[in-house]
């Protein structure tokens, strides 16, 4: 981390990919080339356009990518509208990495992993998925359940089809909310699909998505025999400083920016119900 953590680095946007109608993935490198800083899967960074705003986004690229960082960002406000309108070559500022990470080098090692994502919730998980794909020997079987409103709203669709589905030992289950022309895959909400798939209960689960999806997915997992200590998720609250001082993301005695964003469900249970 930069020793002056409130003073950001300058980054250059070298590629912009339109993933879905409202999600773009931005590739960022340092002006001298290469990554701005190292991170672990699940960690976040403060991305800013000076004069427009600054916001916390998960770093969606894997740490095993040695050339650049990527952020998948949904257009949903002032700053993200601006980011969506910019062109390649634009400089932005980035500071980080912030927060904890998924325990890829400890609790997750050697385990069979089940990833469950909804919509833009794939962004933080993509970092972990590509990390474990690149360090395949350290992990067991990988199952990915991913759903979105429609086929067009599946983020990273090409990467999923061309790379993840082509990997040995990686099972990918896609679903969309409603029937759609040209889609012959599964149709239905993620929580129900997970129950239908009935994954083996010895897996460790990583779930990210809209709060309502997370809620029903967790309930479904418990129904088929998973316990809260097996399930990890990420939280998001409003953030400004990203270092546990400005007070915004305080919940109970935790600060999501530094104690999170990754929490295991039994840890969340101890926090007041205010998220």
């Amino acid at each position: 981390m930069n020793s002056e953590t409130l003073i950001p680095y300058v980054g250059v946007v070298t590629d912009i990919r339109q993933d879905t109608p409202d999600v773009k993935t931005f590739r960022v490198v340092s002006p001298e080339g290469g990554k701005l800083f190292e991170h672990m899967p699940g960690q976040c960074a403060m991305v800013s356009v000076p004069g427009v705003g600054e916001g916390m986004f998960s770093i969606t690229s894997s740490p095993t990518n040695t050339e650049f960082m990527e952020f998948s960002i949904k257009k949903c406000g002032h700053l993200t509208n601006w980011l969506h309108a910019m062109d390649v070559g634009q400089q932005i500022t980035v500071r980080g990495p912030y927060g904890n990470n998924f325990p890829v080098e400890t609790e997750l090692k050697g385990k069979d992993l089940l990833f469950i994502a909804g919509g833009i919730g794939l962004a933080p998980l993509r970092s972990v998925i590509n990390y474990v794909r690149d360090k395949r020997e350290n992990y067991g079987k990988i199952q990915i359940v991913y759903g979105s409103r429609s086929k067009d709203d599946l983020v990273d669709y090409q990467e999923i089809i061309n790379e993840w589905m082509a990997d040995d030992g990686v099972e990918v289950n896609l679903t969309i909310d409603r029937e759609q022309e040209g889609w012959d895959g599964h149709v239905g909400f993620v929580p129900n699909y997970v129950k239908e798939l009935a994954p083996s209960t010895d897996k460790t689960v990583l779930v990210c998505g809209p709060p309502i999806m997370i809620k029903f997915t967790l309930a479904g997992l418990k129904e088929i025999g998973f316990t809260e200590t097996q399930v990890y998720t990420t939280m998001e609250l409003r953030m400004k400083c990203a270092i546990g001082k400005c007070g915004r993301c305080n919940i109970g005695n935790k600060y999501v920016c530094k104690d999170g964003p990754v929490f295991r469900f039994d840890e969340l249970d101890e926090l007041p119900d205010e998220y």
Binding site: P50, Q91, K245, G252, N253, E270, P272
Partner: protein, 339 residues
């Protein structure tokens, strides 16, 4: 103990101000006290405390964090800070002195806030023992002795002289720097005054207020208390309590276009405000109940949970005298307490 006669205070302040910038509480025209930079003619206030706390010296209401020069698609990042000068804050009360160690637990833990740390490093805190506590005072609830204030150097007045005791290395330097003005004095009268002050304190309305049933152990019990609705019902969400509070430390970061570039500054903010936690996808604290609860839960439960039981309140009483609806932390503690 080393002392100086009270009629030589101007001489003392002039000697301090000759070397460093000196700030002290002075009376405004409206009779209220505020910290002012000392210059010839500025008199030390005789009031108990300033309207605003002393946190500004280390955590100012606004400050520039970084500047950006924008040219086409390019950005230049500039650290706007200039070299800091040493300064002395004189006449800080025991409650405010403790607030600095509470702020330290936020800003000096990793990652250290270097803006705050620089000011702490350059500032010498000279405290003043209280002799006439007011009915809104409850510093002793949080283990603060107003007759023996913390700070780099503590001072006591016996009505004739001002006595000095250094508490830290910085305090020793301060006493050394004025030693040519000081004489050795008898503290007998001082001890009687301190005793009388403690006696008065034990008869004050809030003398028996205890925080022993608060802290991190009953986090969810207090959070889920059915008292919050009634307590917060009249709260206007004006944020006055947070602005006068010496330990409230939440802040906002915003950008300002100067016409020549972008200034990124931080400024005090308040968890009492409706947009404090508002996000693109919603707000986890939708009503004033949640926002009101957050402020008191943080001071009485969350902060002690993370800081070995130390509370995020120093009992200065500013919120008691300033809240437009007369709601305050004392009423909250009394209503909420589970024994």
């Amino acid at each position: 103990m080393l002392m100086i006669s009270l009629d030589r205070l101007d001489e003392l302040f002039a000697a301090v101000a000759a070397k460093q910038t000196l700030y002290l509480p002075a009376d405004r025209e409206d009779g209220q006290a505020e910290y002012r930079r000392w210059e010839d003619g500025v008199k030390l206030s005789s009031r108990l405390n300033t309207v605003r706390s002393a946190k500004d010296f280390f955590f100012p209401q606004t400050e520039d964090l970084v500047e950006f020069k924008m040219e086409g698609k390019n950005i230049e990042v500039i650290d706007p800070r200039k070299e800091s000068e040493d300064f002395v804050v004189f006449g800080v009360r025991a409650c405010d002195a403790r607030s600095f160690t509470i702020l330290d637990k936020v800003y000096l833990v990793e990652p250290v806030d270097s803006y705050y740390k620089t000011r702490r490093d350059h500032g010498t805190v000279v405290t003043m023992a209280c002799t006439r506590p007011e009915e809104t005072c409850f510093c002793r609830t949080f283990g603060i002795d107003p007759t023996a204030p913390e700070g780099d150097c503590a001072c006591w007045s016996d009505g004739e002289s001002l006595f000095f005791r250094a508490n830290t290395e910085k305090g020793e330097k301060f006493v050394d720097s004025i030693s040519s003005l000081l004489d050795e004095g008898d503290t007998e009268k001082l001890e009687k005054i301190n005793e009388r002050t403690r006696d008065v304190l034990s008869k004050m309305p809030l003398a028996n207020l205890s925080a022993e049933n608060f802290g991190g152990d009953k986090l969810n019990e207090y959070f889920n208390s059915d008292k919050w609705g009634e307590l917060s019902e009249a709260c206007l969400g004006c944020g006055t309590c947070t602005f006068v509070c010496p330990t409230c430390q939440c802040y906002d970061i915003r950008d300002f276009d100067t016409g020549h570039g972008i200034k990124r500054f931080r400024c005090w903010d308040s968890c009492m405000y409706s947009d404090f936690t508002k996000m693109a996808h919603g707000n986890p604290r939708l009503t004033q109940l949640e926002r009101f609860r957050q402020r008191f839960m943080h001071k009485l439960v969350y902060f002690p949970a993370n800081n070995n039981g130390e509370f995020g309140c120093v009992g200065c009483g500013r919120c008691l005298s300033k809240c437009p609806i007369s709601m305050n932390i004392v009423k909250v503690m009394k209503a909420l307490e589970v024994k």
